[in-house]
């Protein structure tokens, strides 16, 4: 074989091997079709659990309660089923506080895969060994078969009796001592000393918390502005920590030193000192001024700079209780939207006549190319939500009727972050951070940062917002 052919063969095989290997290591990053589990996690989990009701009913056993045809209709457009007068649907709607379930324009296969996932989970939960708890279902603090109600009551009673006995004994004893003119305890010194003890124990516990808990806080910021914010956090921390320690030292040691020691101890009548007041006014003022000027500079850079022309635009649409994400497609422009167009088959209210909108993409997860600026365009459908991406140090309220935005540049890919923190299940995540209703705690969407080539590959597989049956089938294939 000619040398360059040989090399080509080797490289091609190598490439194929690597792709298939990567598909194994990062199944989520390169998956062909969202699995039932992914669809459930991204769409259903905010309101449904398998085994308990939440914003919506528990889904375990749903296949026994409703047949497949009904479920297909319901998932695709629950509002229409209710409007048609279906009694089961109407009762369900009223029982769950008239919380509307969004319409999912999914194929038969997709719905079947979600139902299959639900069945799997139901079986898995039923087979899980029963969680350790006391015989009558009481929660156990110790985690392994806690006290029964009777035992708890007895313990409390015993404590009360013991406490009362202690008190009684204490009063007897102190009465005896008082009669004889002996002072058993110098309560003044005890309290004074307890402040010093509190200082020592308290500072030790503070240190312990820092030692044990800091490792659970966010890893290095995954955005350009994020590292600047983190630096500022560290500086602010050290300044405030020094003040915290010094003032607490004074506050807790002075009670000991200046406790009343007896009839002869006296205080110093020292009513004011203007020079001192000036000193401890001007020093905090200067320190705070420096901190805040730095802060205004960073804030200005983050929020008051215009995104460049090449910034990737992503529209995040928040609703009770989930997110939808739209990309502008090859024309680079997001189509016009109007809230009056929102309906069961047009969840984001995009104008079907708008030519910019025809190629807009609806994506179940947001992929970002590393190192390229992104502008998040934020819109809400019903109440105030908040787009919170803590790993990127991004937060902005999403307000109905008032578009907001946030510009940032991701700097660490998902793969790199997984390496850094040694957690191969890690994913960046978008959470809602403004109270928005009963399922506020479960509105999430996955964000993935990848290299440019990976991003292009992913982009090519995404489907448009408006389904075009002539060019796309329900299932999505690798090119």
């Amino acid at each position: 074989m000619k040398p360059n052919r040989y090399f080509t063969l080797v490289f091609r095989s190598f490439f194929l091997v690597m792709v298939s290997l990567s598909a194994g290591i990062f199944p989520q990053a390169l998956s062909a079709q969202p699995s039932g589990q992914e669809l459930f996690a991204n769409n259903c989990a905010s309101c449904h659990k398998i085994d308990q009701p939440m914003a919506g009913p528990a889904l375990g056993g749903i296949d026994k309660r409703r047949d497949g045809a009904w479920l297909l209709k319901w998932i695709r457009n629950s509002a229409a089923v209710i409007a048609s007068g279906d009694q089961y649907a109407v009762d369900l709607f009223n029982q769950y506080n008239k919380t509307a379930m969004p319409a999912y324009d999914w194929s038969d296969e997709e719905i079947k895969s979600v139902l299959a996932y639900i069945k799997e989970e139901e079986i898995a939960l039923a087979n899980k060994p029963k969680a350790a708890d006391g015989g009558d279902g009481t929660a156990s603090l110790a985690g392994g078969g806690g006290p029964t109600r009777g035992e708890s009551a007895l313990m409390i009673l015993a404590l009360i009796v013991f406490g009362a006995l202690l008190l009684f004994a204490g009063r007897l004893l102190s009465a005896q001592y008082r009669l004889r003119g002996i002072r058993l305890f110098n309560w003044n010194s005890i309290n004074a000393g307890l402040f010093v003890v509190f200082l020592v124990v308290g500072m030790a516990l503070v240190g312990l918390q820092f030692a044990r808990l800091m490792r659970h806080t966010l890893p290095v910021a995954a955005s350009e502005h994020g590292v600047v914010i983190d630096q500022m956090l560290v500086i602010t921390f050290w300044i405030t920590f020094v003040v915290f320690v010094i003032t607490h030292y004074i506050l807790f040691v002075y009670p000991w030193i200046y406790r009343r020691r007896g009839a002869e101890s006296k205080a110093l009548h020292y009513a004011h000192n203007d020079r001192l007041e000036f000193a401890w006014t001007i020093v905090p003022a200067i320190v705070l001024t420096v901190l805040i000027l730095y802060g205004t500079k960073v804030w200005r850079e983050i929020t008051q700079s215009e995104p460049g022309k090449d910034a990737l635009e992503i529209e995040l649409f928040a609703y009770q209780f989930g997110w939808q994400a739209r990309l502008p497609g090859s024309d680079g422009m997001l189509g016009r939207h109007d809230y009056r167009l929102i309906g069961a088959t047009n969840s984001m209210g995009i104008d079907p006549e708008s030519k910019e909108g025809k190629d807009d993409l609806l994506v179940p997860e947001v992929y970002l190319p590393v190192g390229e600026p992104v502008v998040l365009r934020l819109r809400a459908r019903d109440v105030i939500h908040s787009a919170y991406l803590p790993h990127f140090r991004v937060q902005m309220n999403v307000v109905p009727g008032m578009p907001t935005q946030f510009v940032f540049t991701p700097t660490i890919t998902t793969e790199e972050m997984r390496e850094k923190i040694n957690n191969y299940n890690f994913n960046y995540v978008l959470a809602c951070n403004k109270i928005c209703g009963v399922a506020h705690f479960n509105m999430q969407m996955k964000f993935v940062v990848v290299t440019r080539p990976e991003y292009d590959q992913w982009l090519a597989r995404q489907r448009t917002y408006f389904k075009r049956p002539e060019t796309q089938t329900a299932s999505i294939l690798l090119p």
């Binding site: 939440m54 008239k98 969680a131 156990s140 603090l141 309560w187 309290n191 516990l205 659970h216 600047v228 914010i229 500022m232 405030t240 003040v243 915290f244 010094i246 003032t247 004074i250 506050l251 040691v253 002075y254 009670p255 030193i257 009343r260 006296k266 205080a267 110093l268 009548h269 009513a271 004011h272 001192l276 000193a279 401890w280 006014t281 705070l288 001024t289 901190l291 205004t296 960073v298 804030w299 200005r300 983050i302 929020t303 809230y339 908040s386 919170y388 937060q395 309220n397 999403v398 307000v399 009727g401 008032m402 907001t404 995540v429 959470a431 403004k434 109270i435 209703g437 506020h440 705690f441």
Partner: protein, 636 residues
């Protein structure tokens, strides 16, 4: 100008001597519809304490959920019924719990319960007045407060649930009943209750201001008033200027909810339908709300600071350090508190330029707060400290104020706020600096003025135990939350199991919940002490703390009009403690100059210490004295 004969302004004409055989009080007029400030103070106190218990119980319910999110609690179902089906708290009701906990604590306990009690008790007593400028208005304010309390408590039992949109009740969530069940009747009752509460607060605040300005006894100039009175004065001014703005926010919200207006609503699709409301802005509500909301936190805090000044000075036997600066700080904080509200709104989507403005102004307000802290430390320096439960809580307040205040520096920086807003970092911050600090101020006040209110002494040892348990519990509950906040764990979340990065805090949440349960249990000691001492406490002497202020010159048994005969006149400021050469370590405000030797007559605001004898002073090796020496303020 002071006026000790407010005959025109009271219903009974109290300028005559005080055997009050001229009118007969029935049980109703003496204890229920009383116009006497002392009874009204107790009515505020008891209601505030009751509401504190309610709010604490609400918090225990959601702490159980947060500490044990996977467990079921059958007892919860027997108490809450459908709100805890199968022993698991309903997620919507969880939000109601945090909403009602916040609302009750901020307004009913720490505003009405704190200011209502101590302003009513202390203003007439400490400035030398028979009663408030308008006892009738005073009675009205407490009764409207009681009505608003009843309505707020009623809302807990509504079938569709109490208000659940957070104590900040942002629309559209709070404006649309279809957005969440709690935004139905529960929200309506909340709004009605708050409208009444605001009316009550305004009436009370007007009364306090008028009384302080007009009814001071001769000799009681503004600069001879105790710092408690100054704090009630500035608090009331804040209230008068800011509560009406909350009322306007509430009224506009009622309009949006019930009359089809769109002040806060625009472009909404919810519960399957497009709403025909356009043109409004949810941000308007936030501006109106926080215009009150920020001064509100100072309304909650300043009376506690005033109480702390008084309690520390009296028990350390030293003048409060820097009286004039302390007054100046109160005034500075009051003025500045009106122009920083936007720091609650950095990430709301308002024009980010405003972020710059509010960030800078917020920095400025940190300065007078710092000055007050240093003044408290300086008051303790070289004191002769007698540890009563009152001063224990006062010192605890200073600690919590420092800890919580320092984290305010992070949050006031808008760039840092991006990642910390609405996380547990904020929860830790306000619970330390406002919630716990003000609660400690309230407790310090109760322990200190209990003899004045009930004529008995509380049990000291129980007081010590109560303090140390509570102080430890507060830090164990709230300090760890800072770390959760730095990790980006949001507040108002029913559970954290849905997000992997949050789930690692489950163990810590259990620890926090256990600490909260133990801390709440410790309050039973106080409740036992409080009610038990009324019956079994030692009878109090007239001036148990050897204090200078004139409320301690009134007879222990309460009489209508406070003093038999003439109201005492005042000749000095209230902080003449440990004057060298004085026979006792305190010189009450009522002592005339003629009765004192020459060197004790001059106003006591002298900079230089005059020692009677050098041996009386412990040798100084510690930081503070060294610093003074270094600064050349003190001779080495």
């Amino acid at each position: 100008m002071s006026n000790s004969n407010p005959s025109a302004s009271t219903a009974h004409g109290h300028n005559h001597g005080h055997d009050h055989g001229h009118h007969k009080d029935t049980f109703i007029t003496k204890y229920i519809f009383s116009q006497d400030h002392k009874i009204i103070a107790k009515q505020y106190l008891l209601t505030g304490m009751f509401m504190a218990v309610v709010a604490a119980l609400l918090s225990l319910l959601f702490r159980f959920q947060l500490g044990w999110p996977e467990d079921t609690f059958p007892w919860m179902e027997s108490i809450l019924g459908d709100w805890a089906k199968g022993g698991r708290l309903d997620p919507g009701f969880y939000l109601s719990l945090v909403t009602m906990h916040g609302t009750i604590m901020v307004f009913f306990v720490l505003t009405a319960g704190l200011t209502g009690t101590f302003a009513n008790l202390l203003i007439p007593f400490q400035i030398g007045a028979r009663d408030m400028a308008s006892p009738f208005l005073n009675m009205l304010s407490v009764w409207i407060f009681l009505l608003s309390t009843v309505i707020m408590l009623l809302s807990l039992f509504i079938e569709s649930g109490p208000a659940a949109a957070g104590w900040t009740i942002y629309p559209p969530l709070s404006a649309l009943p279809q957005a969440m069940p709690g935004s139905g009747l529960g929200m309506t009752l909340w709004l009605i209750s708050m409208a009444l509460f605001i009316a009550s607060s305004l009436m009370a605040a007007l009364n306090y201001i008028t009384t302080i300005l007009n009814l001071r006894t001769p000799g009681m100039t503004m600069t001879r008033m105790p710092l408690t009175i100054w704090s009630f004065f500035t608090t009331s001014i804040l209230g008068v200027l800011s509560f009406p703005v909350l009322l306007s926010a509430v009224v506009l919200l009622i309009f949006d909810r019930s009359f089809g207006t769109s002040f806060y609503l625009s472009e909404i699709f919810i519960a399957g339908e497009t709403l025909n409301r356009t043109g409004g802005s949810p941000i308007l509500f936030q501006h109106l709300f926080w215009f009150l909301g920020h001064p509100e936190v100072y309304i909650v805090l300043m009376p506690a600071l005033g109480i702390t000044s008084e309690v520390i000075a009296t028990n350390a036997r030293k003048p409060i350090f820097g009286y004039r600066t302390m007054v100046g700080s109160l005034l500075g904080i009051s003025f500045l508190s009106f122009i920083v509200w936007g720091h609650h709104m950095f990430v709301t989507g308002m024009n980010p330029f405003l972020g710059n403005v509010f960030m800078i102004l917020t920095l400025v307000i940190a300065v007078p707060s710092a000055v007050k802290t240093f003044n408290y430390l300086a008051t303790l320096w070289k004191g002769n400290i007698r540890f009563t439960p009152g001063i224990l809580f006062a010192i605890g307040l200073v600690s919590l104020f420092i800890s919580g205040g320092l984290t305010g520096i992070y949050l006031g920086n808008a760039a840092l706020d991006i990642n910390l807003h609405d996380t547990y970092f904020v929860v830790a911050h306000f619970h330390l600096v406002m919630g716990s600090a003000s609660l400690f101020g309230m407790l310090a006040g109760v322990y200190h003025w209990y003899p004045r209110m009930f004529g008995r002494m509380m049990n000291e040892k129980l007081g010590y135990l109560h303090f140390w348990l509570t102080f430890a519990a507060v830090y164990m509950v709230f300090f760890p939350m800072h770390f959760m906040g730095i990790d980006g764990v949001p507040r108002r979340y029913y559970n954290f199991t849905g997000f992997e990065y949050m789930a690692e805090w489950m163990d810590l949440n259990r620890f926090i919940s256990i600490s909260a349960i133990l801390g709440s249990a410790a309050q039973l000691i106080f409740i036992w002490n409080f009610f038990g001492s009324m019956r079994w406490g030692k009878k109090a002497p007239m001036n148990p703390w050897n204090s200078n202020t004139i409320e301690w010159t009134a007879p222990v048994e309460h009489i209508h009009g406070n003093w038999p005969g003439e109201i005492p006149h005042v000749h000095r400021w209230p902080y003449d403690y440990s004057r060298p050469g004085a026979p006792k370590d305190f010189i009450p405000q009522t002592v005339k100059d003629d009765d004192l030797p020459e060197e004790l007559r001059k106003p006591a605001m002298q900079p230089a210490p005059q020692y009677a004898s050098k041996e009386a002073v412990p040798s100084e090796t510690l930081l503070f004295g060294r610093l003074l020496q270094v600064l050349g303020i003190r001779k080495a």
